[in-house]
C-alpha cells in the first residue's frame, strides 16, 4: 500500500515537472552581421601616369558573415574574398567586384570550406602572392549558427615601390626622392639638435648626423621607399553553449620605409600596425548581447644608425604610439608640396548599445601618403597612396520572448459520426430483439 502511494506521489511530481513543451514557449531570436578587411589600397597617384583606369585599387582579405535565427527562419551565410577591386563604401555582398577565383561563399545549404585561391596574380602595377578566400558555414544541432571565414594574401607582400609605379618616368620620382630626403633630413636634424641641447655629447650627435646622412644617401640610390606586408582577415561566428560569439579581426600590417635592400627588414622607419578587432556575443539564455572592439595600435621602429658603418646587427628603437600621434612625426612632410602625408587613427567603439542591438567597430588605420602626387586638381591633395589597414565591425541584435501558446491544444473538430451510427445500429438491434422477446412472451399468455 505504501509503495503504491509513493509511486503515485512520484508520478505526480514528475508529471508536474514535465510540463508539455507547448504549455509555454520560449522564443529566442537574434541576428547579426560582421565583416573585416585586411587592407584597402588605392593609388590615385597613377593619374600622373594615366594608369588610373588599369588599377582601380585593391581590397585584400575581405570576410563577412551574417546570420538570422528565429523560430520560423534560420540562416547563416559566410563570405571570404582574397582580393577585390577597391571597395570604398559599405559593400553589397551580391555585387562585389572580387576576383571570383579567390572567393568562397557558404550557407546552411552549401557549407563550403574547400577554399579558393589564385597564385601570383597581379593587377596593373601591384603584384600579389597567393590570394585565398575560405568560408565554411553551418547550423549546429542546437540550431545555432557557425561560420568561419578567412581571406587574405598568403605570405603577403604588396609592393608599393614608387619605382615600380614608374613615377620616375613621369619626372616626379627624383623630385619626390629629393623632397622626401630633405624632409627626413630636416626631421632627423631636429631630433639631433634637440638631443644635443638636452645634453647628449656633441661627438655622439655628430656621429648620428653623419650616419643618418650617409644612410639617406644610400637610400636615395635605391628603390626601397615603401614595402607593405599585410595579414589576413577573419570573420567567425562561433557557438559556445547557449552563446553565439562573433569575432571579426583584420590582422594588421607592416610597412617598411626607406630601406636599403628590404625596407621591411632594414628600413629607416618600420611601422607595425596591430590587428583591429570587433567582437560581440549573444547570450541565448538571458537574451543579452554585448560588444567590444580593440582598435589597431601602431608600433614605430626607428633604426639606430650609429652602428651602420660597423655592419652590426640592425638595431631599432621602438615606440608604441597611438596612430594619430604619427601625424606630428609626419608634420615636416607637409612643407613639401608632393609629400604631405596624414594618418587617421583607428577609432574604435566599445559596445554601443541601442535598445536590444549592440555594435562595435575598429575602423582601421588610414594612411594617405604623398598626397600631392597625381592630384586631380592642383592643391586638392587627393593623389598619392591611400591605405586603410585592419578594419573590422560587428552588429548584433537579439531577444528572448516567452509567450503563452494560443491554446493548450488544437480544437476538437471531428465529431464521432461513425460512433453515433454504430451506437444507433446497436440500439436498433437491441430494440428489435426486445420486440421479438415481447412477441414470444405474448404468445404464451
Amino acid at each position: 500500500m505504501k509503495k503504491g502511494l509513493i509511486a503515485i506521489l512520484v508520478l505526480l511530481v514528475l508529471g508536474s515537472a514535465m510540463v508539455p513543451a507547448w504549455a509555454q514557449s520560449v522564443q529566442v531570436s537574434f541576428q547579426g552581421t560582421s565583416s573585416a578587411r585586411a587592407l584597402d589600397l588605392s593609388i590615385p597617384a597613377l593619374r600622373q601616369l594615366g594608369l588610373q583606369d588599369q588599377f582601380k585599387g585593391l581590397t585584400v582579405g575581405l570576410t563577412s558573415a551574417d546570420f538570422s535565427i528565429s523560430s520560423s527562419n534560420k540562416a547563416v551565410n559566410g563570405f571570404a574574398a582574397g582580393k577585390c577591386e577597391f571597395i570604398a563604401s559599405q559593400p553589397d555582398p551580391g555585387a562585389l567586384p572580387c576576383d571570383q577565383s579567390t572567393v568562397e561563399t557558404s550557407s546552411i545549404s552549401s557549407p563550403g570550406g574547400a577554399g579558393a585561391c589564385v597564385d601570383n596574380s597581379s593587377i596593373a602595377v601591384v603584384n600579389l602572392a597567393t590570394a585565398c578566400g575560405k568560408s565554411a558555414s553551418s547550423l549546429t544541432s542546437a540550431g545555432l549558427p557557425s561560420s568561419l571565414n578567412e581571406a587574405g594574401v598568403a605570405n603577403a607582400r604588396v609592393s608599393a615601390n614608387l619605382a615600380d609605379l614608374g613615377l620616375e618616368a613621369a619626372l616626379t620620382v627624383e623630385d619626390t626622392k629629393d623632397q622626401l630626403l630633405t624632409a627626413v633630413q630636416g626631421l632627423t636634424n631636429d631630433v639631433l639638435d634637440t638631443a644635443e641641447a638636452s645634453g647628449v655629447p656633441g661627438d655622439k650627435v655628430a656621429a648620428l648626423r653623419d650616419a643618418t646622412n650617409e644612410f639617406l644617401a644610400s637610400v636615395a640610390d635605391g628603390n626601397q621607399f615603401a614595402v607593405l606586408k599585410v595579414g589576413a582577415s577573419t570573420t567567425n561566428v562561433i557557438p559556445d553553449g547557449p552563446n553565439t560569439n562573433v569575432v571579426s579581426e583584420a590582422a594588421g600590417a607592416k610597412i617598411g620605409l626607406l630601406g636599403l635592400t628590404n625596407a621591411l627588414e632594414d628600413g629607416l622607419v618600420i611601422l607595425e600596425i596591430s590587428s583591429g578587432k570587433a567582437m560581440a556575443s549573444f547570450d541565448g539564455a538571458s537574451g543579452l548581447a554585448q560588444a567590444s572592439a580593440v582598435g589597431p595600435v601602431a608600433t614605430v621602429k626607428v633604426r639606430d644608425l650609429i652602428d651602420l658603418d660597423n655592419n652590426a646587427a640592425t638595431q631599432y628603437l621602438e615606440a608604441i604610439i597611438q596612430p594619430e600621434m604619427l601625424n606630428s612625426l609626419l608634420a615636416p612632410l607637409s612643407s613639401a608640396p608632393l609629400l604631405e602625408t596624414t594618418v587617421e587613427a583607428g577609432s574604435h567603439t566599445q559596445g554601443v548599445q541601442t535598445g536590444k542591438s549592440v555594435s562595435a567597430f575598429a575602423s582601421g588605420v588610414t594612411i594617405h601618403a604623398l598626397k600631392g602626387i597625381g592630384e586631380s586638381e592642383v592643391g586638392k591633395k587627393d593623389g598619392g597612396i591611400l591605405l586603410r589597414i585592419a578594419a573590422a565591425d560587428v552588429r548584433l541584435a537579439g531577444d528572448i520572448a516567452t509567450t503563452e501558446p494560443p491554446c493548450c491544444a488544437l480544437a476538437t473538430t471531428g465529431g464521432p459520426v461513425y460512433g453515433y451510427l454504430a451506437g444507433a445500429a446497436l440500439m436498433a438491434l437491441l430494440a428489435l430483439a426486445l420486440i421479438a422477446y415481447v412477441r414470444r412472451l405474448r404468445t404464451t399468455v
Partner: protein
C-alpha cells in the same frame, strides 16, 4: 447466438406478470428505437443546425457591428469574424470567434489568441471535418498554390497554400496537443486545423498558407 442467453433465467413473467412485463419491454423497445433514430440522425441534425447558424451569421456579418468589432478589436465568442472562401473545396462559410465546442457548432472558429485575418503573424482557424456543417471535410485536398480567401468588413485577404516546408508536407498531421503550429510567425500566414482521421479526434490535420494579396472592401 440467441437472446435467451443474455436474458435472466428466472421467469420474469412469473415475477411481474406476463402482460405487465410485455408492456414494459415494448415501451423500452420503442424508446430504444427512438434513441437509435436520434443517434443516427444527430450528425445530420448538427449539419442542419450549423446551416441555420450560418444563415444567422451571414446576416449578422452584413451589419456594421462586425466592422465595429474589428475597429475595436473586440469579439465575443460565437460572433461572426470573417467569411472564408476556398474555391477548390467549394467552401464559403462564416468563421466565428472562438474554438469551444459551442462556438464550433457553427462549423469553423478562429483561435482567439492568434492575429485577426490579414494581420502580421499566424492566423489560426479550426473547422469541423465531420458534422456541424463539416466545412473542412476535404482539407486534405488542398495543395500548394490553392487560394484561401478571408473576407472581413474591412478588407479581403488572399492566402495561398505554401509548398512542403520544415521537412514535412503541407497539409500535414500533428498530435492534438501540438499547438506549435499556431506559434507566431514573422510572415503573415494562415493555419487551418481540423481533426484527423475523419470522424476521429486522435490527430489533427494542418494546412499552412501565406498572405499573398489584400483588397480593401469599399
Amino acid at each position: 447466438m440467441k437472446l435467451k442467453t443474455f436474458l435472466p433465467r428466472v421467469s420474469l413473467g412469473r415475477l411481474f406478470g406476463r402482460r405487465a412485463l410485455a408492456g414494459f419491454l415494448s415501451v423500452m423497445a420503442v424508446g430504444m428505437l427512438a434513441g437509435a433514430g436520434w443517434l443516427a440522425g444527430y450528425p445530420f441534425y448538427t449539419d442542419l443546425r450549423a446551416a441555420q447558424e450560418q444563415k444567422r451569421l451571414a446576416a449578422s456579418f452584413e451589419t456594421t457591428s462586425v466592422k465595429h468589432s474589428y475597429q475595436e478589436r473586440s469579439f465575443t465568442e460565437g460572433s461572426a469574424l470573417t467569411r472564408m472562401v476556398i474555391p477548390k473545396l467549394n467552401l464559403d462559410t462564416v468563421v466565428v470567434e472562438g474554438v469551444s465546442l459551442k462556438a464550433l457548432a457553427a462549423g469553423a472558429g478562429h483561435y482567439p489568441r492568434t492575429p485577426l485575418p490579414g494581420e502580421a503573424g499566424n492566423v489560426g482557424i479550426a473547422g469541423h471535418r465531420t458534422m456541424n456543417g463539416k466545412p473542412l471535410s476535404n482539407l486534405q485536398e488542398l495543395t500548394a498554390g490553392d487560394r484561401i480567401i478571408l473576407i472581413t468588413p474591412l478588407a479581403q485577404f488572399t492566402y495561398e497554400v505554401i509548398p512542403a516546408f520544415d521537412r514535412h508536407a503541407n497539409p500535414w498531421v500533428v498530435h492534438p496537443n501540438d499547438a506549435s503550429v499556431l506559434q507566431p510567425t514573422d510572415e503573415p500566414v494562415l493555419t487551418l486545423t481540423t481533426c484527423h482521421p475523419r470522424g476521429s479526434a486522435k490527430q489533427r490535420m494542418v494546412v499552412r498558407a501565406k498572405l499573398v494579396g489584400m483588397e480593401s472592401v469599399a
